[in-house]
Amino acid sequence: MCDSTDSQEQQQQQEQPSGRKRATSKPCIKCKTAQPSVAIRLSVYCKDCFVKSAIVKFRSALSKSRKRAPVSRTKVMVALSGGATSSAMLRLMDDYQHMELKGAAAEPIYAGVVVGHVDESTVFSGYEDTQICAIATDCGVDVVVARLEDVFVPDSDQPALLELVHATIAPSASRDQFCVQLAKNDGATPGRERLRALFAGLGSATDREDMLDILKTFLLTRLARQAQCELLLMGDSGTRIAAKLVSLTSRGRGFSLPLEIGAESRLAGGVTVYRPMRDYIMKEIAFFNLWTKQRSVVVPTFTTGAPTTASIDRLTEAFVVGLDRDFPSTVSTVCRTVQKLELREDALDALPCIVCNLPAEPNAQVWRNRLTVSEAPNAQPALSNASAALVTDVKAQHQSPFDVTAHLCYSCQSLLHFAKPGLALPAFCFETYREHVKTAANSTSNDWHQRQETLRRQIEEFLL
């Protein structure tokens, strides 16, 4: 049934795709004199005015963020992947620090700038880390590097990893069940190998890209904490944020997405993230780098050079960029939508998912099960016995696997559903789980306490 109730007039103007362009005869929209060299959305700019307004835009984005989510006069970590946006961001941040010095205020706003970089060479060949470090030293800024495989480095003196035993989403089981078991992490298997096995064990390019994002965010946040930076700048352009809103929505990550793409996010461990590049579309960044001679590299990912159907991220990127071509304010409209979303109340209190560290919606399993009936009309409890039997069988071979379904968010449940059994999750997954158990142990609910006690006994040797 056709049910369009478009009533905004603005939409009417935009409903028809923009036609082919003609050469412009207008001068730069800012200085009104010079010949324009670039068209952004529907305005034209000359080179000088363009670069100047790019700088002003960065500063105003930072000051808006400072008002909404203030941090103390701290060191700033700039997350640098070496790609066009983060390189531009570093340049702009460096310029900002120096600009403040010349101004009325005697001291710069931030105590210092440090670059944080995640080295992905274990997973991607053709990785140019020397060039990336050169981009940082060009600005005279120190670099701290974490390697992707560091997520498997044991963090405490009794380290363990969670290994996937069995994952299923109804209908093949009477209820969702994600069982893991403990594996020792004594460094016998090199982190590099574990990392490759992690990606190889995931079910699709979409899941791999999701995991890569999770690992990088974790490592960058840790780097920031270790360098005493309360503030972390992430280089997500407006184009990227718009595509990510669609992509995260499509993957069921609506519950936590304000933390992943919002202008400011306060993460656990005292690190605040700003995204000051959110008002730039990719074209602006490319021209900024071109005219300021800012170096950058092409950052590889799992689907580089692959067709658009290779992963959800590729599909949404192609789609948003294509839509933006026909309706030039798409990216900025979608970005404005992002700014109007915030975490729901129950997301503020929710425990983090042990895989992605983002708030896990409390009833993901119930929601899914409610919508999907997969049993015959007179379903026997035999089905639930079957799944209990499964756990018992597994018990016989390994030592006490346990159910972590309640500790996973909706999207990570899908991720694990398609993963291969035997998949070993990064060390922080176990650390987070241990925290949950400790927190729970302090709860006053008796029944629940007893259940937690059972679990606790299973992992006792690993509790500090």
Binding site: K21, A23, A39, A84, M282, L290, G305, D313, A318, V321
Partner: protein
């Protein structure tokens, strides 16, 4: 329309005239675009002879031509979509945004330099 991919030959200096029958145009590829080009070249100089020098060479035609000449086998649809470049690929003519110059309607001149920069994360 014939062309040959030859390096620019300094000994071959011909006077630059507006209605020159042979157009020398440099195509540059970066931002990951080079991966789509034969031999992953980042720069290709084209010498294009116009049989009929009264019809200008438009960007639209030039792009189609590059799709056949420079782009590696099987990668055309990563470069071209319909009659233009794929969304996400920026086109810069002599350091100026092609949108300012009329996009597909721009008429190429001798010694023009056209850069293609991909802004897509997936290359």
């Amino acid at each position: 329309m014939e062309s040959s991919v030859r390096g620019s030959d300094s000994g071959d200096a011909r006077p630059v005239a507006h209605d020159e029958k042979c157009l020398t145009i440099t195509a540059m590829y970066s931002g990951g675009m080079e991966r789509l080009i034969k031999d992953e070249k980042t720069e290709v100089v084209h010498k294009i002879e116009r049989k009929d020098d009264s019809t200008p060479l438009m960007m639209e035609e030039f792009i189609a031509y590059l799709g056949k000449t420079d782009v590696a086998e099987g990668k055309q649809d990563m470069f071209i979509q319909e009659n233009s470049v794929r969304p996400g690929i920026m086109v810069i003519i002599n350091m100026v945004d092609w949108e300012v110059e009329g996009e597909l309607e721009y008429e190429l001149k001798n010694n023009d330099c056209v850069e293609f920069i991909s802004t897509l994360h997936g290359g």
